[in-house]
Amino acid sequence: MGNTITEKILMAHTGLKKISAGQLINARVDIALGNDVTAPIAINEFKKAGGKKVFNKNKVALVLDHFTPNKDINSAQQCKAVREFALQQKITHFYEGGRVGVEHALLPEQGIVLPGDLVIGADSHTCTYGALGAFATGVGSTDLAAAMLTGELWLKVPQSIKFVVYGKLQKWVSGKDLILHIIGRIGVDGALYQAMEFTGETIGKLPMADRFSMANMAIEAGAKNGIFAPDKITADFIKKRAKRKYKFYASDADAVYSDIIEINAAKIEPQVAFPHLPSHVKGISKAGRVKIDQALIGSCTNGRIEDLRIAAGILKNRRAASHVRLIIVPATPEIYKQALKEGLLDIFMKADAIISPPSCGACLGGHMGILAEGERAVATTNRNFVGRMGHTKSEVYLASPAVAAASAVLGKIASPEEL
Protein backbone atom coordinates (compact mmCIF):
# COMPACT_ATOMS: atom_id res chain seq x y z
CA MET A 1 0.00 0.00 0.00
CA GLY A 2 1.44 3.33 -1.05
CA ASN A 3 1.47 6.73 0.56
CA THR A 4 0.09 10.13 -0.35
CA ILE A 5 2.39 13.11 -0.79
CA THR A 6 1.14 14.45 2.56
CA GLU A 7 2.02 11.20 4.34
CA LYS A 8 5.44 11.08 2.69
CA ILE A 9 6.41 14.59 3.73
CA LEU A 10 5.21 13.98 7.29
CA MET A 11 7.09 10.68 7.45
CA ALA A 12 10.30 12.36 6.27
CA HIS A 13 10.03 14.68 9.27
CA THR A 14 9.91 11.89 11.83
CA GLY A 15 12.21 8.98 12.47
CA LEU A 16 9.47 6.61 11.36
CA LYS A 17 9.70 4.10 8.51
CA LYS A 18 5.96 3.72 8.14
CA ILE A 19 3.11 6.08 8.59
CA SER A 20 -0.64 5.97 8.08
CA ALA A 21 -3.64 8.26 8.37
CA GLY A 22 -4.92 8.76 11.90
CA GLN A 23 -1.52 8.23 13.52
CA LEU A 24 -0.26 10.75 16.06
CA ILE A 25 3.31 11.86 15.36
CA ASN A 26 5.92 14.25 16.62
CA ALA A 27 7.36 15.95 13.57
CA ARG A 28 10.35 18.20 12.93
CA VAL A 29 9.41 21.66 11.74
CA ASP A 30 11.30 23.43 8.93
CA ILE A 31 9.64 26.82 9.33
CA ALA A 32 7.47 28.14 12.18
CA LEU A 33 5.58 31.34 11.41
CA GLY A 34 3.87 33.96 13.54
CA ASN A 35 2.41 37.43 12.96
CA ASP A 36 1.66 40.54 15.00
CA VAL A 37 -1.64 39.06 16.25
CA THR A 38 -0.58 35.51 17.11
CA ALA A 39 3.13 35.85 17.97
CA PRO A 40 2.67 38.00 21.10
CA ILE A 41 0.75 35.15 22.79
CA ALA A 42 3.29 32.61 21.57
CA ILE A 43 6.23 34.67 22.86
CA ASN A 44 4.53 34.91 26.25
CA GLU A 45 4.00 31.15 26.38
CA PHE A 46 7.58 30.57 25.21
CA LYS A 47 8.92 32.68 28.09
CA LYS A 48 6.51 31.21 30.63
CA ALA A 49 7.82 27.74 29.79
CA GLY A 50 11.33 28.95 30.55
CA GLY A 51 12.33 29.36 26.87
CA LYS A 52 15.61 31.24 26.45
CA LYS A 53 16.52 30.59 22.82
CA VAL A 54 14.47 29.54 19.81
CA PHE A 55 15.43 26.14 18.43
CA ASN A 56 16.90 27.68 15.26
CA LYS A 57 16.90 31.39 14.41
CA ASN A 58 16.82 30.61 10.68
CA LYS A 59 13.67 28.53 10.98
CA VAL A 60 11.37 31.01 12.65
CA ALA A 61 9.56 33.66 10.58
CA LEU A 62 7.90 36.66 12.24
CA VAL A 63 5.88 38.92 9.96
CA LEU A 64 4.14 42.08 11.23
CA ASP A 65 1.41 42.36 8.62
CA HIS A 66 -2.02 42.36 10.26
CA PHE A 67 -2.51 45.71 11.99
CA THR A 68 0.37 47.46 10.23
CA PRO A 69 1.30 50.21 9.58
CA ASN A 70 0.34 50.29 13.26
CA LYS A 71 -3.35 51.00 13.52
CA ASP A 72 -3.41 52.24 17.11
CA ILE A 73 -1.52 52.17 20.38
CA ASN A 74 -2.51 48.57 21.20
CA SER A 75 -1.32 47.24 17.86
CA ALA A 76 1.89 49.25 18.15
CA GLN A 77 2.49 47.58 21.51
CA GLN A 78 1.95 44.15 19.99
CA CYS A 79 4.41 44.87 17.19
CA LYS A 80 6.92 46.22 19.69
CA ALA A 81 6.76 43.01 21.72
CA VAL A 82 7.40 40.89 18.62
CA ARG A 83 10.18 43.20 17.39
CA GLU A 84 12.04 43.05 20.70
CA PHE A 85 11.83 39.28 20.71
CA ALA A 86 12.93 39.02 17.07
CA LEU A 87 15.96 41.28 17.62
CA GLN A 88 16.94 39.59 20.86
CA GLN A 89 16.69 36.13 19.25
CA LYS A 90 18.37 37.39 16.03
CA ILE A 91 15.50 35.92 13.96
CA THR A 92 16.64 35.86 10.31
CA HIS A 93 13.18 36.08 8.75
CA PHE A 94 11.78 39.06 10.62
CA TYR A 95 9.74 41.44 8.48
CA GLU A 96 8.31 44.83 9.28
CA GLY A 97 8.05 48.37 7.94
CA GLY A 98 8.89 48.77 4.26
CA ARG A 99 10.05 45.14 3.99
CA VAL A 100 6.81 43.60 5.18
CA GLY A 101 4.34 41.85 2.93
CA VAL A 102 1.27 39.74 3.57
CA GLU A 103 2.89 36.67 5.13
CA HIS A 104 1.61 33.98 2.80
CA ALA A 105 2.60 35.91 -0.30
CA LEU A 106 5.90 36.96 1.24
CA LEU A 107 7.34 33.63 2.43
CA PRO A 108 7.14 31.78 -0.91
CA GLU A 109 8.33 34.86 -2.82
CA GLN A 110 11.40 35.16 -0.61
CA GLY A 111 12.19 31.46 -0.90
CA ILE A 112 11.69 30.95 2.84
CA VAL A 113 9.31 28.01 2.36
CA LEU A 114 10.25 25.32 -0.16
CA PRO A 115 8.91 22.06 -1.64
CA GLY A 116 9.02 19.14 0.77
CA ASP A 117 9.09 21.40 3.84
CA LEU A 118 6.99 20.94 6.94
CA VAL A 119 5.69 24.38 7.81
CA ILE A 120 3.49 25.36 10.73
CA GLY A 121 2.15 28.85 11.17
CA ALA A 122 0.03 30.55 13.79
CA ASP A 123 -2.26 31.72 11.03
CA SER A 124 -4.93 29.58 9.44
CA HIS A 125 -3.91 30.40 5.85
CA THR A 126 -0.48 28.85 6.35
CA CYS A 127 -1.94 26.08 4.17
CA THR A 128 -1.08 28.35 1.18
CA TYR A 129 2.41 26.81 0.90
CA GLY A 130 0.93 23.48 -0.09
CA ALA A 131 0.99 24.99 -3.58
CA LEU A 132 4.75 24.37 -3.55
CA GLY A 133 4.39 20.72 -2.58
CA ALA A 134 5.10 21.40 1.08
CA PHE A 135 3.08 20.22 4.07
CA ALA A 136 1.85 23.43 5.61
CA THR A 137 -0.84 23.90 8.21
CA GLY A 138 -2.26 26.56 10.49
CA VAL A 139 -1.99 26.11 14.24
CA GLY A 140 -2.53 28.21 17.34
CA SER A 141 -0.15 30.43 19.29
CA THR A 142 0.63 27.77 21.88
CA ASP A 143 1.64 25.40 19.09
CA LEU A 144 3.92 28.10 17.71
CA ALA A 145 5.46 28.54 21.16
CA ALA A 146 6.07 24.79 21.37
CA ALA A 147 7.63 24.67 17.90
CA MET A 148 9.87 27.70 18.58
CA LEU A 149 11.08 26.00 21.73
CA THR A 150 11.54 22.42 20.58
CA GLY A 151 11.58 22.52 16.76
CA GLU A 152 8.88 19.87 16.83
CA LEU A 153 5.12 19.64 16.96
CA TRP A 154 2.50 16.94 17.52
CA LEU A 155 0.35 16.27 14.48
CA LYS A 156 -2.24 13.75 13.47
CA VAL A 157 -1.60 12.31 10.02
CA PRO A 158 -4.65 13.36 7.99
CA GLN A 159 -6.58 11.30 5.49
CA SER A 160 -6.54 12.76 2.01
CA ILE A 161 -9.25 13.65 -0.48
CA LYS A 162 -8.04 13.66 -4.07
CA PHE A 163 -9.50 16.24 -6.43
CA VAL A 164 -8.99 15.38 -10.08
CA VAL A 165 -9.58 18.49 -12.17
CA TYR A 166 -9.86 18.13 -15.94
CA GLY A 167 -11.08 20.23 -18.87
CA LYS A 168 -10.02 23.59 -20.30
CA LEU A 169 -10.74 26.67 -18.21
CA GLN A 170 -13.13 29.18 -19.74
CA LYS A 171 -12.08 32.77 -20.22
CA TRP A 172 -11.88 34.73 -16.93
CA VAL A 173 -11.95 31.50 -14.90
CA SER A 174 -9.00 31.15 -12.51
CA GLY A 175 -7.74 29.02 -9.65
CA LYS A 176 -9.85 31.20 -7.34
CA ASP A 177 -13.01 30.16 -9.20
CA LEU A 178 -11.96 26.49 -9.05
CA ILE A 179 -11.49 26.55 -5.30
CA LEU A 180 -14.70 28.51 -4.69
CA HIS A 181 -16.52 25.95 -6.81
CA ILE A 182 -14.97 23.08 -4.85
CA ILE A 183 -15.86 24.64 -1.47
CA GLY A 184 -19.38 25.26 -2.74
CA ARG A 185 -19.57 21.61 -3.62
CA ILE A 186 -18.16 20.01 -0.46
CA GLY A 187 -19.09 22.68 2.12
CA VAL A 188 -17.12 24.56 4.77
CA ASP A 189 -16.47 21.34 6.68
CA GLY A 190 -16.30 19.09 3.62
CA ALA A 191 -12.62 18.32 4.21
CA LEU A 192 -12.55 18.63 8.02
CA TYR A 193 -9.25 17.27 9.46
CA GLN A 194 -8.22 16.07 5.98
CA ALA A 195 -5.70 16.92 3.28
CA MET A 196 -7.00 18.24 -0.05
CA GLU A 197 -4.76 16.98 -2.84
CA PHE A 198 -5.23 18.75 -6.17
CA THR A 199 -4.36 16.79 -9.31
CA GLY A 200 -5.41 16.38 -12.93
CA GLU A 201 -4.56 17.85 -16.32
CA THR A 202 -6.03 21.29 -15.52
CA ILE A 203 -3.98 21.54 -12.34
CA GLY A 204 -0.84 20.55 -14.25
CA LYS A 205 -1.20 23.64 -16.43
CA LEU A 206 -2.13 26.02 -13.64
CA PRO A 207 0.36 28.85 -12.93
CA MET A 208 1.82 29.13 -9.40
CA ALA A 209 -0.30 32.18 -8.55
CA ASP A 210 -3.48 30.16 -9.12
CA ARG A 211 -2.14 27.21 -7.15
CA PHE A 212 -1.36 29.52 -4.22
CA SER A 213 -4.89 30.92 -4.18
CA MET A 214 -6.35 27.40 -4.27
CA ALA A 215 -4.16 26.00 -1.48
CA ASN A 216 -4.85 29.21 0.47
CA MET A 217 -8.54 28.40 0.73
CA ALA A 218 -8.21 24.73 1.73
CA ILE A 219 -8.88 25.84 5.32
CA GLU A 220 -12.20 27.26 4.13
CA ALA A 221 -13.31 23.66 3.57
CA GLY A 222 -12.04 22.75 7.05
CA ALA A 223 -8.92 21.03 5.66
CA LYS A 224 -5.68 20.57 7.53
CA ASN A 225 -3.67 21.24 4.38
CA GLY A 226 -4.03 21.63 0.64
CA ILE A 227 -1.31 20.21 -1.55
CA PHE A 228 -0.07 20.10 -5.16
CA ALA A 229 2.62 17.71 -6.38
CA PRO A 230 5.54 19.90 -7.49
CA ASP A 231 6.36 19.90 -11.23
CA LYS A 232 8.15 21.93 -13.89
CA ILE A 233 6.05 25.03 -13.06
CA THR A 234 7.04 24.72 -9.37
CA ALA A 235 10.68 24.19 -10.35
CA ASP A 236 10.70 27.39 -12.43
CA PHE A 237 9.22 29.34 -9.54
CA ILE A 238 11.58 27.95 -6.94
CA LYS A 239 14.86 27.90 -8.91
CA LYS A 240 15.67 31.57 -8.51
CA ARG A 241 14.48 31.79 -4.91
CA ALA A 242 15.74 28.75 -2.98
CA LYS A 243 18.82 29.27 -0.84
CA ARG A 244 18.76 25.82 0.74
CA LYS A 245 17.97 22.25 -0.28
CA TYR A 246 14.46 21.12 -1.08
CA LYS A 247 12.76 17.95 -2.25
CA PHE A 248 9.92 17.06 -4.60
CA TYR A 249 7.50 14.43 -3.33
CA ALA A 250 4.64 12.75 -5.19
CA SER A 251 1.84 10.41 -4.17
CA ASP A 252 2.20 6.71 -4.98
CA ALA A 253 -0.17 5.30 -7.57
CA ASP A 254 -1.65 3.00 -4.91
CA ALA A 255 -1.95 5.63 -2.20
CA VAL A 256 -5.13 5.47 -0.13
CA TYR A 257 -7.72 8.27 -0.28
CA SER A 258 -10.86 8.79 1.76
CA ASP A 259 -12.54 10.14 -1.35
CA ILE A 260 -11.78 10.97 -4.98
CA ILE A 261 -13.74 13.84 -6.50
CA GLU A 262 -13.66 14.64 -10.21
CA ILE A 263 -14.25 18.17 -11.39
CA ASN A 264 -14.94 19.17 -14.99
CA ALA A 265 -13.35 22.61 -15.06
CA ALA A 266 -14.70 23.38 -18.53
CA LYS A 267 -18.18 23.70 -17.07
CA ILE A 268 -17.27 26.29 -14.45
CA GLU A 269 -18.01 30.00 -14.94
CA PRO A 270 -16.57 32.74 -12.70
CA GLN A 271 -17.78 32.09 -9.16
CA VAL A 272 -18.98 34.37 -6.35
CA ALA A 273 -19.33 33.33 -2.70
CA PHE A 274 -22.32 35.15 -1.21
CA PRO A 275 -22.54 36.17 2.45
CA HIS A 276 -21.84 34.76 4.98
CA LEU A 277 -20.01 31.55 4.11
CA PRO A 278 -17.28 30.76 1.55
CA SER A 279 -19.40 27.77 0.50
CA HIS A 280 -22.38 29.93 -0.43
CA VAL A 281 -21.23 29.95 -4.03
CA LYS A 282 -23.07 30.90 -7.23
CA GLY A 283 -21.98 31.19 -10.84
CA ILE A 284 -21.69 34.84 -11.92
CA SER A 285 -24.63 34.44 -14.31
CA LYS A 286 -26.85 33.66 -11.33
CA ALA A 287 -25.59 36.48 -9.12
CA GLY A 288 -28.52 38.81 -9.86
CA ARG A 289 -28.21 42.54 -9.24
CA VAL A 290 -25.98 43.14 -6.22
CA LYS A 291 -24.95 46.78 -5.86
CA ILE A 292 -21.58 47.27 -4.15
CA ASP A 293 -19.94 50.04 -2.14
CA GLN A 294 -16.39 48.73 -2.10
CA ALA A 295 -14.12 46.47 -4.13
CA LEU A 296 -10.98 45.03 -2.57
CA ILE A 297 -8.26 43.47 -4.70
CA GLY A 298 -5.48 42.01 -2.58
CA SER A 299 -4.75 39.63 0.33
CA CYS A 300 -2.86 36.35 0.62
CA THR A 301 -5.42 34.81 -1.72
CA ASN A 302 -5.20 37.21 -4.66
CA GLY A 303 -2.74 40.04 -4.15
CA ARG A 304 0.03 38.70 -6.39
CA ILE A 305 1.45 40.39 -9.48
CA GLU A 306 -0.53 38.07 -11.77
CA ASP A 307 -3.73 39.15 -9.99
CA LEU A 308 -2.85 42.82 -10.36
CA ARG A 309 -2.11 42.33 -14.08
CA ILE A 310 -5.55 40.83 -14.62
CA ALA A 311 -7.19 43.68 -12.71
CA ALA A 312 -5.17 46.27 -14.64
CA GLY A 313 -6.15 44.68 -17.94
CA ILE A 314 -9.77 45.29 -17.05
CA LEU A 315 -9.37 48.70 -15.39
CA LYS A 316 -7.25 50.19 -18.18
CA ASN A 317 -8.97 53.30 -19.59
CA ARG A 318 -11.90 52.71 -17.26
CA ARG A 319 -12.84 54.13 -13.87
CA ALA A 320 -14.45 52.74 -10.76
CA ALA A 321 -18.13 53.68 -10.50
CA SER A 322 -18.51 56.94 -8.55
CA HIS A 323 -20.16 55.23 -5.56
CA VAL A 324 -17.50 52.49 -5.31
CA ARG A 325 -14.31 52.67 -3.24
CA LEU A 326 -11.79 50.55 -5.11
CA ILE A 327 -8.92 49.45 -2.85
CA ILE A 328 -5.90 47.67 -4.29
CA VAL A 329 -3.36 46.04 -2.00
CA PRO A 330 -0.17 44.70 -3.60
CA ALA A 331 0.65 41.83 -1.25
CA THR A 332 4.41 42.44 -0.92
CA PRO A 333 6.95 45.23 -1.58
CA GLU A 334 8.34 43.21 -4.53
CA ILE A 335 4.88 43.03 -6.08
CA TYR A 336 4.39 46.73 -5.42
CA LYS A 337 7.67 47.58 -7.19
CA GLN A 338 6.89 45.30 -10.10
CA ALA A 339 3.42 46.82 -10.49
CA LEU A 340 4.99 50.26 -10.50
CA LYS A 341 7.53 49.19 -13.12
CA GLU A 342 4.88 47.69 -15.37
CA GLY A 343 2.70 50.80 -15.14
CA LEU A 344 -0.09 48.98 -13.34
CA LEU A 345 -0.21 51.48 -10.49
CA ASP A 346 -0.68 54.24 -13.03
CA ILE A 347 -3.67 52.40 -14.52
CA PHE A 348 -5.11 51.89 -11.04
CA MET A 349 -4.74 55.55 -10.09
CA LYS A 350 -6.40 56.64 -13.31
CA ALA A 351 -9.24 54.27 -12.40
CA ASP A 352 -9.64 56.18 -9.09
CA ALA A 353 -8.30 53.29 -7.02
CA ILE A 354 -6.82 53.68 -3.56
CA ILE A 355 -3.46 51.90 -3.49
CA SER A 356 -2.72 50.54 -0.05
CA PRO A 357 0.66 49.48 1.31
CA PRO A 358 1.08 45.72 1.70
CA SER A 359 -1.06 44.86 4.75
CA CYS A 360 -3.79 42.53 5.94
CA GLY A 361 -5.76 45.56 7.18
CA ALA A 362 -8.92 45.59 5.08
CA CYS A 363 -9.11 41.80 4.57
CA LEU A 364 -9.84 41.06 8.22
CA GLY A 365 -11.73 44.24 9.01
CA GLY A 366 -8.68 45.52 10.84
CA HIS A 367 -8.23 48.97 9.34
CA MET A 368 -7.90 50.84 6.04
CA GLY A 369 -11.15 49.75 4.42
CA ILE A 370 -13.81 48.99 7.06
CA LEU A 371 -17.43 48.62 5.95
CA ALA A 372 -20.34 50.52 7.55
CA GLU A 373 -23.75 49.07 8.40
CA GLY A 374 -25.56 47.85 5.30
CA GLU A 375 -22.54 48.24 2.99
CA ARG A 376 -21.47 45.58 0.53
CA ALA A 377 -18.01 44.71 -0.75
CA VAL A 378 -16.73 42.41 -3.42
CA ALA A 379 -13.33 41.11 -2.30
CA THR A 380 -10.64 38.82 -3.69
CA THR A 381 -10.02 37.61 -0.13
CA ASN A 382 -10.97 34.27 1.40
CA ARG A 383 -13.58 34.85 4.11
CA ASN A 384 -17.02 36.44 4.11
CA PHE A 385 -18.13 35.64 7.65
CA VAL A 386 -20.47 38.02 9.50
CA GLY A 387 -18.53 41.18 10.36
CA ARG A 388 -15.38 40.04 8.57
CA MET A 389 -14.71 43.42 6.95
CA GLY A 390 -16.55 45.66 9.39
CA HIS A 391 -20.10 46.11 10.68
CA THR A 392 -22.01 42.92 11.47
CA LYS A 393 -24.68 44.10 9.04
CA SER A 394 -22.21 44.58 6.18
CA GLU A 395 -21.70 41.95 3.47
CA VAL A 396 -18.68 40.48 1.72
CA TYR A 397 -18.82 38.71 -1.66
CA LEU A 398 -15.76 36.65 -2.56
CA ALA A 399 -14.57 36.53 -6.17
CA SER A 400 -11.57 36.58 -8.49
CA PRO A 401 -9.58 39.73 -9.36
CA ALA A 402 -11.27 39.79 -12.78
CA VAL A 403 -14.77 39.83 -11.29
CA ALA A 404 -13.75 42.31 -8.57
CA ALA A 405 -12.30 44.72 -11.15
CA ALA A 406 -15.32 44.47 -13.45
CA SER A 407 -17.64 44.90 -10.46
CA ALA A 408 -15.79 48.05 -9.38
CA VAL A 409 -16.37 49.60 -12.80
CA LEU A 410 -20.03 48.64 -13.07
CA GLY A 411 -20.84 49.33 -9.42
CA LYS A 412 -22.44 45.92 -9.01
CA ILE A 413 -21.25 42.34 -9.01
CA ALA A 414 -20.42 41.65 -12.64
CA SER A 415 -18.43 39.55 -15.04
CA PRO A 416 -15.77 41.21 -17.24
CA GLU A 417 -17.95 40.06 -20.14
CA GLU A 418 -20.51 42.71 -19.20
CA LEU A 419 -18.11 45.61 -19.79
Partner: protein, 168 residues
Protein backbone atom coordinates in the same frame (compact mmCIF):
# COMPACT_ATOMS: atom_id res chain seq x y z
CA UNK B 1 -13.90 16.51 35.41
CA UNK B 2 -17.50 17.43 36.13
CA UNK B 3 -19.16 20.57 34.76
CA UNK B 4 -22.64 21.71 35.65
CA UNK B 5 -24.17 24.72 33.94
CA UNK B 6 -26.80 26.34 31.82
CA UNK B 7 -26.56 25.82 28.08
CA UNK B 8 -26.35 28.64 25.51
CA UNK B 9 -27.18 27.36 22.05
CA UNK B 10 -25.51 28.46 18.83
CA UNK B 11 -25.88 27.19 15.26
CA UNK B 12 -23.56 25.50 12.77
CA UNK B 13 -20.27 27.01 11.56
CA UNK B 14 -19.79 29.49 14.40
CA UNK B 15 -16.56 31.08 13.17
CA UNK B 16 -13.75 32.71 15.11
CA UNK B 17 -14.80 36.14 13.78
CA UNK B 18 -18.12 35.61 15.60
CA UNK B 19 -16.42 34.32 18.76
CA UNK B 20 -13.96 37.20 18.93
CA UNK B 21 -14.13 39.74 16.09
CA UNK B 22 -10.80 40.75 14.52
CA UNK B 23 -11.35 44.37 15.57
CA UNK B 24 -10.45 43.31 19.13
CA UNK B 25 -7.27 41.45 18.19
CA UNK B 26 -5.06 44.41 18.97
CA UNK B 27 -4.79 42.94 22.45
CA UNK B 28 -4.31 39.49 23.92
CA UNK B 29 -5.44 40.46 27.42
CA UNK B 30 -7.89 37.69 28.47
CA UNK B 31 -10.26 40.02 30.35
CA UNK B 32 -10.50 42.51 27.47
CA UNK B 33 -11.15 39.64 25.06
CA UNK B 34 -13.72 38.09 27.41
CA UNK B 35 -15.77 41.30 27.34
CA UNK B 36 -16.44 40.67 23.63
CA UNK B 37 -16.87 36.90 23.74
CA UNK B 38 -19.38 35.67 21.09
CA UNK B 39 -20.23 39.30 20.31
CA UNK B 40 -20.94 38.93 16.60
CA UNK B 41 -23.08 35.83 17.14
CA UNK B 42 -25.03 37.24 20.13
CA UNK B 43 -24.12 40.79 21.26
CA UNK B 44 -25.69 40.23 24.70
CA UNK B 45 -24.02 36.90 25.46
CA UNK B 46 -21.53 38.20 28.00
CA UNK B 47 -24.26 40.15 29.82
CA UNK B 48 -26.62 37.17 29.98
CA UNK B 49 -24.30 34.32 30.86
CA UNK B 50 -23.04 33.31 34.29
CA UNK B 51 -19.77 31.74 35.31
CA UNK B 52 -19.88 27.99 34.75
CA UNK B 53 -22.34 28.17 31.85
CA UNK B 54 -21.79 26.03 28.80
CA UNK B 55 -21.63 26.96 25.11
CA UNK B 56 -23.37 24.50 22.80
CA UNK B 57 -22.50 24.68 19.11
CA UNK B 58 -23.57 22.82 15.99
CA UNK B 59 -21.24 21.49 13.30
CA UNK B 60 -17.76 22.93 12.71
CA UNK B 61 -17.62 25.13 15.81
CA UNK B 62 -14.66 27.54 15.75
CA UNK B 63 -14.02 27.48 12.01
CA UNK B 64 -11.99 30.21 10.37
CA UNK B 65 -8.88 31.79 11.78
CA UNK B 66 -6.24 30.23 14.01
CA UNK B 67 -6.60 32.92 16.65
CA UNK B 68 -6.14 31.49 20.12
CA UNK B 69 -7.94 34.62 21.26
CA UNK B 70 -11.16 32.65 20.61
CA UNK B 71 -10.71 29.92 23.24
CA UNK B 72 -9.02 32.49 25.50
CA UNK B 73 -12.10 34.76 25.32
CA UNK B 74 -14.43 31.84 26.04
CA UNK B 75 -12.38 30.61 28.97
CA UNK B 76 -11.87 34.07 30.45
CA UNK B 77 -15.60 34.83 30.17
CA UNK B 78 -16.15 32.01 32.63
CA UNK B 79 -17.59 29.42 30.26
CA UNK B 80 -16.82 26.04 31.83
CA UNK B 81 -16.74 23.97 28.65
CA UNK B 82 -17.92 23.89 25.04
CA UNK B 83 -20.01 21.10 23.58
CA UNK B 84 -20.61 20.89 19.82
CA UNK B 85 -21.60 18.44 17.12
CA UNK B 86 -18.10 18.87 15.68
CA UNK B 87 -15.19 21.30 15.95
CA UNK B 88 -12.98 22.96 13.36
CA UNK B 89 -9.51 21.49 13.63
CA UNK B 90 -7.41 24.49 14.69
CA UNK B 91 -9.97 25.41 17.35
CA UNK B 92 -9.88 21.80 18.57
CA UNK B 93 -6.06 21.90 18.86
CA UNK B 94 -6.08 25.29 20.55
CA UNK B 95 -8.66 24.27 23.11
CA UNK B 96 -6.64 21.25 24.24
CA UNK B 97 -3.32 23.08 24.02
CA UNK B 98 -4.54 25.77 26.40
CA UNK B 99 -6.72 23.57 28.58
CA UNK B 100 -10.28 24.59 27.62
CA UNK B 101 -12.41 21.43 27.92
CA UNK B 102 -14.47 20.64 24.80
CA UNK B 103 -16.76 17.71 24.03
CA UNK B 104 -18.45 16.32 20.95
CA UNK B 105 -22.06 15.13 21.07
CA UNK B 106 -24.32 15.39 18.04
CA UNK B 107 -27.42 13.99 19.81
CA UNK B 108 -27.36 16.44 22.70
CA UNK B 109 -27.21 19.43 20.40
CA UNK B 110 -30.44 18.39 18.74
CA UNK B 111 -32.25 17.34 21.94
CA UNK B 112 -31.60 20.26 24.23
CA UNK B 113 -33.29 23.67 24.51
CA UNK B 114 -31.49 26.90 25.32
CA UNK B 115 -31.33 27.62 29.04
CA UNK B 116 -31.58 24.00 30.17
CA UNK B 117 -29.05 22.81 32.70
CA UNK B 118 -26.68 19.90 32.05
CA UNK B 119 -24.05 17.97 33.95
CA UNK B 120 -21.02 16.84 31.97
CA UNK B 121 -19.00 13.98 33.44
CA UNK B 122 -15.91 13.54 31.34
CA UNK B 123 -14.68 10.46 33.20
CA UNK B 124 -17.95 8.61 32.69
CA UNK B 125 -18.36 10.10 29.21
CA UNK B 126 -21.90 11.29 29.82
CA UNK B 127 -23.95 14.45 29.67
CA UNK B 128 -27.21 14.53 31.63
CA UNK B 129 -29.97 17.11 31.21
CA UNK B 130 -31.03 17.99 34.78
CA UNK B 131 -34.77 18.48 34.25
CA UNK B 132 -35.55 15.53 32.00
CA UNK B 133 -32.75 13.31 33.36
CA UNK B 134 -31.99 12.32 29.74
CA UNK B 135 -28.47 11.00 29.26
CA UNK B 136 -26.15 11.35 26.26
CA UNK B 137 -22.73 9.94 25.56
CA UNK B 138 -19.75 12.08 24.60
CA UNK B 139 -17.24 10.98 21.99
CA UNK B 140 -14.25 9.76 24.01
CA UNK B 141 -11.30 12.17 24.24
CA UNK B 142 -8.24 10.64 22.52
CA UNK B 143 -5.66 9.49 25.14
CA UNK B 144 -3.03 12.02 24.02
CA UNK B 145 -5.51 14.87 24.40
CA UNK B 146 -6.35 13.69 27.89
CA UNK B 147 -2.67 13.70 28.71
CA UNK B 148 -2.48 17.33 27.52
CA UNK B 149 -5.41 18.36 29.71
CA UNK B 150 -4.08 16.45 32.72
CA UNK B 151 -0.68 18.11 32.31
CA UNK B 152 -2.37 21.53 32.13
CA UNK B 153 -1.92 22.20 28.42
CA UNK B 154 0.77 21.74 25.78
CA UNK B 155 3.52 23.91 27.25
CA UNK B 156 3.30 22.23 30.64
CA UNK B 157 3.25 18.87 28.89
CA UNK B 158 6.42 19.81 27.03
CA UNK B 159 8.10 21.03 30.20
CA UNK B 160 7.29 17.67 31.74
CA UNK B 161 8.38 15.45 28.86
CA UNK B 162 11.29 17.49 27.47
CA UNK B 163 14.51 15.61 27.39
CA UNK B 164 12.67 12.32 27.41
CA UNK B 165 12.41 10.33 24.23
CA UNK B 166 8.99 11.23 22.90
CA UNK B 167 6.50 9.57 20.56
CA UNK B 168 9.09 8.47 18.04
Amino acid sequence: MIFKGKVWKFGDNIDTDAIIPARYLTTSDPLELAAHCMEDADPDFVKKMQAGDIILGGENFGCGSSREHAPIAIKAAGVSCVIAKSFARIFYRNAFNMGLPIFESAELADAIKEGEEVTVDSAKGTIIITDSNKSFTINPIPPFMEELINDGGLMKHIAKTRGKNETK
